[in-house]
Symmetry: C3
Subunit: 272 residues, 3 copies
């Protein structure tokens, strides 16, 4: 993907200001809403089972993040995701800490069955999902991001979803194609919930770009380039969190083109 292709999708978000329905965790609600506002989208945080189905119906995309899950919230995730599927509203799944407890694994697996358009997690979260869904068979013997990438690939194929692994390098796959992004900054790992913000930004791009693979690559490109710019302004993780919102808001095409390091991965990922 070229910088101008990323840029045109960001412009579409800024122009259309799509309404993004978030059912996200309590740690990141403020920053997620602010990240969406900073790129020009219109965020709403709505999680009651009494209204999520109605709200999905008027939204352009749904973001489900299980970070601080509990039973009532889980019920809301499922109602909202099922409604999104029914109405053709794209939805993104962020399986925060998917492998941390048995309960979390059960919830993550049940959400996978509701067929997210895009799944974004770190390597171990994606690997957990791949193993949960049965897509992980044979992956256990691999290690690190290569293992996660193979898991992502299988998960994408089985679920007909786009899967993104974010970390020092970001990977996006739809089960056929794989794109790598080499932007971002190590200090971003010292700020809570930037992955959650990235997931929400993917939601905004899905709202304006029907090709989920292209939307995901473009969203992560914008987010990680802005993170890189912000790290240059920051004195530590506190000021980075603030600067990232400023950088998302002020990002221009020249900066994006200058910094973007994205490439299709040429060698085949799976031989089987």
């Amino acid at each position: 993907m070229q910088a101008h292709e990323v840029w045109s999708r960001l412009i579409a978000v800024r122009e259309q200001a799509p309404l993004i329905h978030n059912i996200t965790n309590f740690v990141v609600m403020n920053n997620t809403a602010n990240a969406l506002l900073a790129i020009g989208a219109s965020p709403a945080m709505i999680h009651s089972t009494d209204e999520v189905e109605d709200f999905v119906a008027v939204s352009k995309a749904l973001v489900v993040n299980i970070g601080t899950l509990y039973s009532d919230q889980v019920a809301a995730y499922k109602l909202a995701a099922a409604q999104a599927k029914r109405l053709g509203v794209p939805w993104v799944f962020d399986p925060v800490g998917a492998g941390a407890t048995p309960y979390r694994r059960v919830v993550a697996a049940s959400l996978l069955r509701l067929q997210p358009s895009v799944i974004r997690g770190n390597g171990s979260e994606i690997l957990t999902l791949a193993q949960q869904s049965g897509a992980g068979r044979g992956v256990d013997s691999l290690h690190g991001s290569e293992a996660a990438l193979e898991g992502a690939h299988r998960l994408a194929r089985e679920g007909s979803a786009v899967v993104a692994i974010t970390g020092a390098v970001d990977y996006v796959t739809d089960g056929e194609r794989v794109t790598e992004l080499h932007n971002g900054h190590p200090l971003m790992a010292r700020v809570t919930g930037l992955g959650c913000s990235a997931t929400a930004v993917i939601g905004a791009f899905l709202a304006v770009e029907p090709d989920a693979f292209a939307a995901t690559v473009a969203a992560l490109a914008v987010f990680s380039v802005a993170g890189e710019v912000a790290a240059g302004w920051a004195a530590g993780p506190g000021s980075l969190q603030v600067a990232l919102l400023d950088a998302l808001y002020t990002l221009d095409e020249a900066t994006l083109a200058d910094r973007l390091k994205v490439k299709a991965r040429s060698e085949p990922l799976l031989k089987c």
Copy 2:
């Protein structure tokens, strides 16, 4: 209202440090508490049905904000608001997204019946409430902020409340008088929950000023002048959110007097 009249109320907040009971949404809790601290008030976020009535009894004002409502929280809103009414504690209602879903409309209407002292929302939220309460009859044919203003006027009369519409221009009415404020900055719309902070600041001013109309005008004056000052310091929405707290904390009388643009609206609003 003159700058010195706004200033004297801010001084009263700083000197009395009134305890403000907030039942607010999860997106803005941190920033709302910090905005109240920055102006010199003493915030508490207390939302369990097991204790809201006890806590209203020791508070100087109550703020109810339905942003991330769900059934248990709604029960807490009602218990707290009814207690406030019973004990003569002023209470402010922020009907976030009042028109977004049927559930939200029902909740907003039920809270209106508990007679808030002040209602603050954006134009469409106020218009929704006006229509819900029956006060909106005949308003449907109008458009934009004029429609919302007429709705606010009727809502204020029917509910014996002060109603504030905030936006590019802020309007405050008690059903008789209308005051306009022309402060603030467009970048404020790119930060989540600044309206919620404004509502909480109204709560703090209500705690020191029995005239709810004067308290609301003074609170919005302080908040929007501070927003304007902060926008001058900010490089984007992230730094604006931070700078606003600094500006509320450091605001002095000369800056307020220099920037304040407030006026009574002279022409009659309603002919009927």
Copy 3:
């Protein structure tokens, strides 16, 4: 405690990156997670009764903060604290607003019975707990921080816990020893939830230092020196909140040694 003893514990946190399980309030979740990340720990916010016991079992310390308590959350506090006790995981209790309502007093008392390793609060919270537990007998006639300190002392003895009172001066006692810290800055009181962050930082130090008294003193030393540094960078409470995270992240041994004002309190606290 000498600066190098504080420093060696901070280094241990940075090197071991201990997983800290937080069940904390909604106001401070973001800042608490960020404070833990800034000092090098690995935070998780997990509060569902369906998973807290499983998660305590993989954590190095547990932090329980009752700021925005409600019945489901209270059930989670108890399950988690009981599990921590069972497994020998150290746990810290932050009794936010313990005396504010009857419900809060009941909850605080029930958590005390689960024997926290460390309790951190302001003077009035600690005094409330001391009175609740019966440890407050005879304390009522005293006033201010001396009264709270005597309460802390008795509470520590009765509960075999370390008790920290934070304020203009911080005090830490285990019922025998008392250490005073004279760092920090008055502006810190104008930022919501810094006490909650301090409690979480104590959790991180407990995870690497089995002596709970030493861990608590070291944690408060790091936190209050960083607060002092941050106050020097800040223009108000908004920028202080941000700068504190930068200061925790960038703190070096020379700055710590230069600023630290800690001393054992020599005179006996209780004659009885």
